[in-house]
């Protein structure tokens, strides 16, 4: 029998890789895979380096922009107005007609309500405000909005999660649904729940966003990362939040 390897590959790629989704009762936060000393660091606000960004975010929240109100000027006390906000993003934005994540929401407020240039992706003030707003949801369950307009985006995110990518041809699901708890070199593979973002990652020695983490996994499998806030990345975030619905927010978490 003679056939072309490329044909065989197409056939293989078309077969669904049957990855079982994690049952609700088996879900674990990345926290549970950490060493006790990293867990202590996250639990104790005096030790958690992420708290520096939370404090900085709190100051930015109050800070007036030139000739424009501060965040607090519109939203008042974040303890009330931002409680639960991070738990329900990404959310559908009417004007853009697509889902946006929390950082994009912050930047929309910057540009539309404060007439200021948007913060750069991964910039210190954007991370600080995200950490401060995220911390207002600490202990609250992740609660993706019930919004039918999100459904096709959620499905795209799910597909993305299950698609083998990169030179190594691995999907997110192959590591995080099928092999969580196993060891990739020294590191335990967590279940990829976005419970703690932005996180202080010991390997980065700084705070970073969920997208930064996703870019690490993509480059790890030698795939081309998407641009910051590319619709595909937001759809992936949306799926991860849905997958983790009901798990508690830990922001700012510590991760190895």
């Amino acid at each position: 029998m003679i056939r072309l390897l490329s044909l065989a590959c197409c056939l293989v790629a078309a077969l669904p890789v049957l990855a079982a989704e994690i049952k609700t009762r088996d879900r674990r936060s990345g926290f549970d895979f950490m060493t006790p000393s990293s867990q202590d660091m996250q639990r104790d606000d005096m030790l958690n380096p992420g708290m520096l960004w939370v404090l900085e975010g709190e100051a930015l929240w109050q800070q007036q922009a030139a000739n424009a109100p501060s965040c607090a000027g519109c939203h008042g006390d974040a303890k009330d107005s931002m409680r639960g906000a991070a738990a329900r993003y990404p959310a559908f934005n009417d004007r853009l007609n697509r889902p946006i994540n929390l950082q994009q929401r912050i930047n929309l407020c910057r540009s539309e309500n404060q007439q200021q240039p948007a913060f750069e992706p991964e910039s210190r003030p954007l991370l600080a405000l995200s950490a401060f707003i995220g911390a207002q949801s600490r202990g609250l369950p992740i609660a993706p909005p019930e919004d039918a307009r999100l459904a096709p985006h959620l499905e795209n995110g799910r597909q993305f999660f299950k698609t083998p990518m990169g030179q190594l041809g691995l999907s997110c699901a192959q590591c995080h649904d099928d092999n969580w708890g196993g060891r990739l070199a020294g590191a335990p593979i967590p279940q990829a729940h976005p419970t703690g973002y932005p996180i202080y990652r010991l390997e980065w020695q700084t705070l970073g966003s969920l997208q930064r983490r996703l870019r690490n996994c993509l480059t790890g499998i030698r795939a081309e990362p998407f641009d910051w806030d590319a619709p595909e990345m937001v759809e992936l975030e949306l799926y991860l939040m849905k997958r983790a619905a009901g798990m508690n927010i830990e922001t700012p978490a510590v991760r190895p």
Binding site: M1, I2, R3, L4, L5, S6, A8, C9, C10, V12, A13, L15, V17, L18, T163, P164, M165, G166, Q167, L168, G169, L170, Q174, C175, D178, N179, G182, R183, L184, A185, G186, A187, I189, L218, T219, R222, A223, E224, P225
Partner: protein
């Protein structure tokens, strides 16, 4: 069963064609035996072979080894040279759900990073070096 590596992206280096017989590729990809010492270095390297991300093996200087795959110890007595070659070149032909990357394949992949496009994970020479090393694991 005869298999040809075909239809590369334009810029890609064509891969050496090979023949699959049963669950093996009996013929060396280069026509010459590999070098076991170079193979060991490839297996140990986190940048090159990446094997120890998933497997463990008798390479004590690499402390952090994976447990997602069978240990490499004994691979040389469990498998013939040809079987080892197909498992490295394209293990998904034997098990489509395998997480083991295809080390000598450039088509059928999606969103390959710019630095890696059109290149297999290992060259034909490197595949033969790794096989020479695996054969020593008896």
């Amino acid at each position: 069963m005869l298999t040809l590596a075909a239809s590369m992206p334009a810029a890609a280096q064509p891969l050496v064609s090979y023949e699959v017989v049963g669950d093996a590729i009996p013929q060396s990809l280069t026509g010459v035996p590999g070098d076991a010492a170079r193979g060991r270095a490839i297996v140990a390297s986190r940048q090159k072979g990446l094997c120890l991300l998933c497997h463990s093996g008798p390479i004590p200087e690499e402390r952090f080894q994976g447990n997602l795959a069978p240990p490499l110890d004994g691979a040389g007595s469990r498998w013939s040279e040809g079987q080892l070659r197909l498992r490295l070149v394209d293990s998904k032909r034997l098990n489509p759900a395998s997480i083991m990357p295809a080390y000598y394949k450039i088509d059928g992949l999606q969103r390959v990073g710019a630095a890696w496009q059109g290149k297999p994970v290992l060259s034909a020479e490197e595949i033969e070096d790794v096989i020479a090393y695996l054969k020593t694991l008896r």
